[in-house]
C-alpha cells in the first residue's frame, strides 16, 4: 500500500469513528440532564470551588432542587441562571459571563495564544527562508561527492 494511501485510510477510519462517537443523543435534553448542566456551572455557596452538582452539602442540594423546580416550570437555562445570580450574586456562576469585566478572562488567553502561535510561525518561516552562509560551487561539489560514496 502506498504511503499516502495508508494515511488516507487511517484518516478516514478516524474521522468516521469520531463522527459516530460524537453523534449526540437524539432529541432535546432530559430534565435530569438540564439540571445537571445548570448546576455544574453554579457554585455551591458554602464550599468554595465545588459546583452545586458535585457537592453533597445541604445548600448545594437546595440549589439543585431550585434548579429542578424552575426547569420543570419551563424556564430556559439563562432564566434559571439569572434567578440564581439575582439571589446569590454574580459570583455564584463558576465561569464569568462574557459581558462586562469577565470578558478579559476569556479573551486574554485567546489573544495570547494567537500571538504566540503567530510568533512561532513567523520565527520558523524566517529561519527557513533566511539565506544561510554562502555556499560555493566547490563546497557543493564536495557534498555531492560525499553523498555519492
Amino acid at each position: 500500500m502506498s504511503r499516502r494511501l495508508s494515511w488516507a485510510v487511517l484518516g478516514l477510519v478516524l474521522v468516521g469513528a469520531l463522527a459516530v462517537g460524537s453523534g449526540g443523543r437524539s432529541g432535546p435534553p432530559t430534565e435530569d440532564q438540564r439540571v445537571q448542566r445548570i448546576s455544574s456551572v453554579v457554585r455551591c455557596p458554602t464550599c468554595r470551588g465545588l459546583s452545586a452538582a458535585q457537592s453533597d452539602a445541604p445548600p448545594a442540594e437546595a440549589i439543585r432542587e431550585e434548579v429542578r423546580r424552575r426547569v420543570q416550570a419551563g424556564e430556559t437555562d439563562a432564566e434559571v441562571k439569572g434567578y440564581l445570580v439575582s439571589r446569590y450574586g454574580e459570583d455564584i456562576l463558576l465561569q464569568p459571563k462574557t459581558d462586562g469585566v469577565g470578558i478579559v478572562v476569556w479573551a486574554l488567553p485567546l489573544i495570547g495564544v494567537t500571538v504566540a502561535v503567530g510568533g512561532l510561525v513567523l520565527v520558523l518561516r524566517k529561519r527557513r527562508t533566511r539565506p544561510g552562509a554562502k555556499v560555493s560551487d566547490a563546497d557543493k561539489a564536495l557534498v555531492e561527492e560525499a553523498l555519492r560514496s
Binding site: D56, P96, V101, V105, L108
Partner: protein, 668 residues
C-alpha cells in the same frame, strides 16, 4: 525550653545565612579562595539551625508544651502520634519551618556536591543566592511567622488539635513534605541561573550542572501533586480529586513551567538556542512557588490551606516582586550575551516540536494563573465579585491538553534539525494506527463524546510512540550486548517512561470526568440501591467514641461482596462533622461511598454513591511518572560533566534517533 531552643536555632540559621553570604561576597571581591571555602562552611550552620528548630518544634508538639502558641493553637493531647508529628506542617508557621528545613538541606547537599569547586565564582554566587532565599525564610520565622512565639497569659491545659481535615488520613504525612521537596528543589537551579547571569558565564555549563537537580525537584513536585489529588479523593468526600482550587493551582503552576523547562533545556543543550527563554522559565518556576506560597498562606484566598489572615502576606509578596525584578534586570542586562548562535532549520523537527510544546505549556500556565488570580484582581480593581472555577479551567485547558498529547506522540519520533516524510511515515504510522483503533474500539463498545474519545485516541497514540522508542532502545542495547535494564536508564528512556505515566493520567482524567455517575440514596438497614451496574446494600451504623472524635460509620455492602464503611467524624473541637469516604478501588472503576446524613429515628440514612471509571489509573500514572523521573536522573554511562564552563558555543550532532542510547555529546 523548646521556645528558647527553637528561637536560638532560628537565630543561628538566620545569622549563619547572612554571615555566609557576606563571607562569600567578600571572598569574591577580594578574590580570596580561603574566604570562599569558609563561606561555604556556613551552609552547615544553616542546616544545623533548621534541624535544631525542627527538633525543638517536634519536642514541643510531642511533649504537649502548650506554652508555645503554635502548639496551643494546633496541638492537642488527644491527637494520635502520627498527626501530632504532622502538626508541624498543619498550620502556617510550622509549614514555613518545614520549608526552611528542606531548603537548608538542599543548600547543604549543593555545597557538598560542589565542594571541590568551592572557589569557582559561579558556585559562590549560586550559594549566595540560595542563602539569600534562606535568609528570607529564616527571617519570616524570626519575625512575622514565628513558630516559637509564647502564648499570652495563662498556659492552656489542652489545645484544639490540627484542622480536622488534616488528621484524617495518613497521606498528610507524605503529601506536604513531597510537595516541598519539589517546590524548594527549584531553588538550586534558580540560584545557578542567577549565578550564571551575574558572572556572565551564560554557556550551557550551568544548565548541565543543575540538570539532575531540576529533574529531582520536578519528580518530587509531580509525586507531591498526585499525592495531593489522592488525599483530596480519599478525604474530602466529594468524589473528585481535582477541583481547580487555588491551592491546587498554586502547586500546578510551577509544575507547568518546570515541565516546559525540562523539555526546552534539551534544545539549549543540543542546539545552544532558547537561552533567554530557559532562564525565564526557571525564574518563572521559582517565583511561582513563591507566588503560590503567597496565595495559599496569606489568606487572600479562602480555602482549607489558607489557614488564617496573617501578616506574612505582604512579606512574601515583597519577596516575590524582588525575585522577579532582580531576575528581569539581570536577564535584561545580559541581553547581548544571550543571543543564541543556533537557529531552527525546519518546522518539522525535534526542536520545533519542543518549541510548540513550550508555547502550549506557557499558554496552559497563563490560563491557570489568570483564572486563579482574576477574581482577586477584579475585586481589587472594580469591586466585582466573580468566581472562576472548574468549568472555565476545563473548557480552556482541554484544547491545550489535546495539543500536548499530540505533541507527546509525534515529538519523540522527530529527528533533530529536519525530518523527511519517509522518516515520519516509518516512525508514526503504527502508533497512529494504535490511536485510531483505540477510538474505533471505544466507539464500538458504546462510549460517546468527542472529548473523551479524542483523549483516549491521542493517549494511545502517545503511549504507542513512547513504547516504540523504548522497544527500539531495548533492541539497541541487546545488539550492543548490554544488559536490558540499560535500555531504560538515562534521560531519553526515562522520559519515555514518564510519558507512559502521563498517558495513564490523561486516560484516567478523561474517563473519570466524562463517564462518572453519582447519586444519593435514602436507605433503611437491609435496603439496596443500584447505580451504573453496581449494587450497594446498607446494613446499619455503628458509633465509636474516641478521645479526639466521635465516629459514626455506616456499613455498606458493595456488589454483594466486601463491606465498606463511610463515616462521619465529629471532632472534639470541630464545629461541623467531617465525612470520610470509603472507596472500593478497582482497575476499571471505583465505587466511592459517603455517609451524608446519619440514620434518623427510623434508621434511614442517606448514602452518597459515586461510580467513577479508571480513577486508579491516575495513581498508577503518578507512580510511573515518579519512577520514570528516577530512571531519567540515573547517571547511566555518561561522562562526568566537565568542570570548566565551555562558554557559549554551538553544540551540534548529526541527526539521531533518541532511541539509541544517548550519544556522548559535549553537553552530556
Amino acid at each position: 525550653m523548646s521556645a528558647v531552643l527553637g528561637t536560638a536555632a532560628v537565630a543561628l540559621g538566620l545569622a549563619a545565612a547572612v554571615l555566609g553570604m557576606a563571607t562569600l561576597a567578600l571572598g569574591l571581591r577580594r578574590n580570596n579562595p580561603g574566604m570562599l571555602r569558609a563561606g561555604q562552611r556556613y551552609v552547615w550552620l544553616v542546616l544545623g539551625g533548621a534541624v535544631l528548630a525542627t527538633v525543638a518544634m517536634q519536642y514541643a508538639l510531642l511533649s504537649h508544651d502548650f506554652s508555645l502558641k503554635y502548639v496551643a493553637d494546633n496541638g492537642s493531647r488527644s491527637t494520635p502520634l502520627l498527626y501530632t508529628i504532622t502538626t508541624m506542617w498543619s498550620a502556617l508557621e510550622g509549614s514555613i519551618l518545614l520549608w526552611a528545613l528542606v531548603l537548608a538541606g538542599y543548600i547543604a547537599v549543593m555545597a557538598r556536591h560542589f565542594r571541590s569547586r568551592a572557589t569557582d565564582p559561579i558556585v559562590a554566587w549560586a550559594t549566595i543566592v540560595a542563602l539569600g532565599v534562606a535568609v528570607f525564610f529564616f527571617g519570616l520565622m524570626a519575625g512575622p511567622a514565628n513558630p516559637f512565639r509564647l502564648v499570652a497569659g495563662a498556659v492552656p491545659l489542652d489545645g484544639p488539635g490540627p484542622n480536622p481535615l488534616l488528621q484524617n488520613h495518613p497521606l498528610v504525612a507524605f503529601h506536604p513534605p513531597m510537595l516541598y521537596l519539589g517546590y524548594v528543589g527549584f531553588t538550586i537551579p534558580f540560584a545557578f541561573a542567577l549565578a550564571a547571569l551575574i558572572t556572565g558565564r551564560l554557556g550551557e555549563g550551568w544548565l548541565v550542572e543543575t540538570r539532575r537537580w531540576t529533574l529531582f525537584a520536578w519528580g518530587f513536585l509531580t509525586v507531591g501533586i498526585v499525592l495531593g489529588a489522592w488525599w483530596s479523593y480519599e478525604v474530602l468526600g466529594w468524589g473528585g480529586y481535582w477541583a481547580w482550587d487555588p491551592v491546587e493551582n498554586a502547586s500546578f503552576l510551577p509544575w507547568l513551567t518546570a515541565t516546559a523547562y525540562v523539555h526546552s533545556v534539551m534544545v539549549q543543550e543540543r542546539r545552544a538556542m532558547l537561552r533567554v527563554w530557559n532562564l525565564s522559565l526557571l525564574v518563572a518556576t521559582f517565583s511561582l512557588t513563591i507566588l503560590g506560597t503567597f496565595l495559599t498562606r496569606s489568606g487572600v484566598l479562602d480555602s482549607v490551606h489558607a489557614f488564617t489572615e496573617s501578616p506574612i502576606g505582604p512579606a512574601i509578596l515583597a519577596f516575590f516582586v524582588l525575585v522577579v525584578a532582580v531576575s528581569l534586570v539581570l536577564i535584561g542586562s545580559r541581553g547581548d550575551k544571550l543571543r543564541s548562535p543556533g537557529s531552527i532549520d525546519a518546522p518539522v523537527s525535534r526542536e520545533a516540536a519542543f518549541l510548540a510544546n513550550n508555547v502550549a505549556f506557557a499558554a496552559f500556565a497563563f490560563v491557570v494563573l489568570l483564572g486563579t488570580v482574576f477574581p482577586l484582581l477584579a475585586e481589587a480593581i472594580n469591586g466585582d465579585q466573580l468566581s472562576v472555577g472548574a468549568p472555565y479551567f476545563n473548557r480552556m485547558t482541554a484544547p491545550i491538553g489535546f495539543t500536548l498529547l499530540f505533541l507527546m506522540a509525534v515529538a519523540p519520533a522527530l529527528p533533530w534539525r529536519k525530518a523527511s516524510t519517509e522518516t515520519l511515515h516509518h516512525r508514526l504510522l503504527w502508533p497512529a494506527w494504535a490511536g485510531t483503533l483505540t477510538v474505533v474500539a471505544c466507539v464500538a463498545s458504546g462510549l460517546r463524546g468527542l472529548g473523551p474519545l479524542l483523549a483516549f485516541g491521542l493517549a494511545a497514540f502517545a503511549g504507542a510512540a513512547a513504547l516504540r522508542q523504548l522497544a527500539l532502545s531495548v533492541r539497541a542495547s541487546r545488539r550492543a550486548g548490554q544488559p536490558v535494564r540499560q535500555a531504560l536508564l538515562g534521560r531519553s528512556n526515562g522520559g519515555m517512561v514518564v510519558h507512559l505515566g502521563v498517558v495513564l493520567v490523561a486516560v484516567g482524567f478523561a474517563a473519570s470526568s466524562s463517564y462518572g455517575h453519582r447519586a444519593q440514596f435514602r436507605l433503611a438497614p437491609g435496603e439496596s440501591a443500584r447505580l451504573a451496574g453496581h449494587s450497594v446494600t446498607y446494613l446499619g451504623t455503628t458509633v465509636e467514641d474516641r478521645a479526639n472524635k466521635k465516629t459514626t460509620s455506616a456499613q455498606v455492602r458493595v456488589d454483594g461482596g466486601k463491606v465498606y464503611e463511610p463515616a462521619l467524624h465529629q471532632f472534639q473541637f470541630g464545629s461541623q462533622a467531617i465525612g470520610s469516604p470509603s472507596v472500593r478501588t478497582g482497575p476499571f472503576s471505583d465505587v466511592y461511598l459517603t455517609l451524608i446524613v446519619p440514620p434518623d429515628a427510623a434508621g434511614v440514612a442517606v448514602i452518597g454513591v459515586n461510580i467513577q471509571p479508571l480513577v486508579a489509573w491516575l495513581w498508577a500514572g503518578g507512580t510511573v511518572m515518579g519512577f520514570g523521573t528516577f530512571l531519567a536522573a540515573w547517571p547511566g554511562r555518561r561522562r562526568r560533566p566537565s568542570t570548566s564552563d565551555p562558554g557559549p558555543e554551538v553544540v551540534t550532532t548529526p541527526d539521531d534517533d533518541i532511541a539509541r542510547p544517548e550519544p556522548a555529546t559535549v553537553s552530556s
